[in-house]
Amino acid sequence: MNNILVDICSIDQQPPDALQALTFVARAPNGAESLFVGSVRETNKGKEVLGISYDVFDPLAKQSFLEICKEAQSHWGTDLCLYVAHAKGRVDVCGTSIVIAVGSPHRDAAFEACRYVIDQIKHRSPVWKLEHYADGDSDWVQGNAISANAHSGKDDCDSTTKGGAREAAH
């Protein structure tokens, strides 16, 4: 289990850290490390976004991250190293909402597993986004059905999207 690390990061304490993620997965047997960083984008559906508040059900979210990482290992190899850290609380535009790093002996597995992990998290992990707009409004982003296609990569919150979040209660 020490080749998987999952975490929920309170924004006011320690935001998701890409360097920390890469450091965790960069090990002697690995010849490739892939890194995904999700950040808060300045527009969504035509509205100017200032930030996103992420609400997270911590224990269930960590459990789902772990399940997804184990699925990646069962598909791409048990030697895969995976790191997932998701923000909790308000993240402003350009801020990091999620960091995923995958280390593998070979690059194909590193790329593919990283893509798998972010896509699955989007659709399965108990995280919710409250977008804060320049006009003063805030709206919860409507969710995906659990059975939704997890590989479109074109939902409201893909890599170029900036999520938003509100102060989480848990």
């Binding site: 059900f57 224990p59 979210a61 998290i121 919710w128 409250l130 995906n144 209660a169």
Partner: protein, 83 residues
Amino acid sequence: MKLVYFAWLREHIGIDEEQVDLPATIDTVGDLLIWQKGRGDGYAIAFSEPETVRVALDQFHAEQDDPVDRVEEIAFFPPMTGG
């Protein structure tokens, strides 16, 4: 029994969590969702479309016909939007 709410369900209801004694007539998650809807204006809005509300029993995803007896914590939340 502890009930916990997330995202807009929490906003509509106005609290993060509460302790309740469930009526003896509630056997399943489905029964519970119907009961919640009748507990006040905020609950009526939060549970207006109960089929869209996800439920976790002691941090495990649950289905409508799962029993709720012997459960310590029930979490209610909308479809996920994270990442």
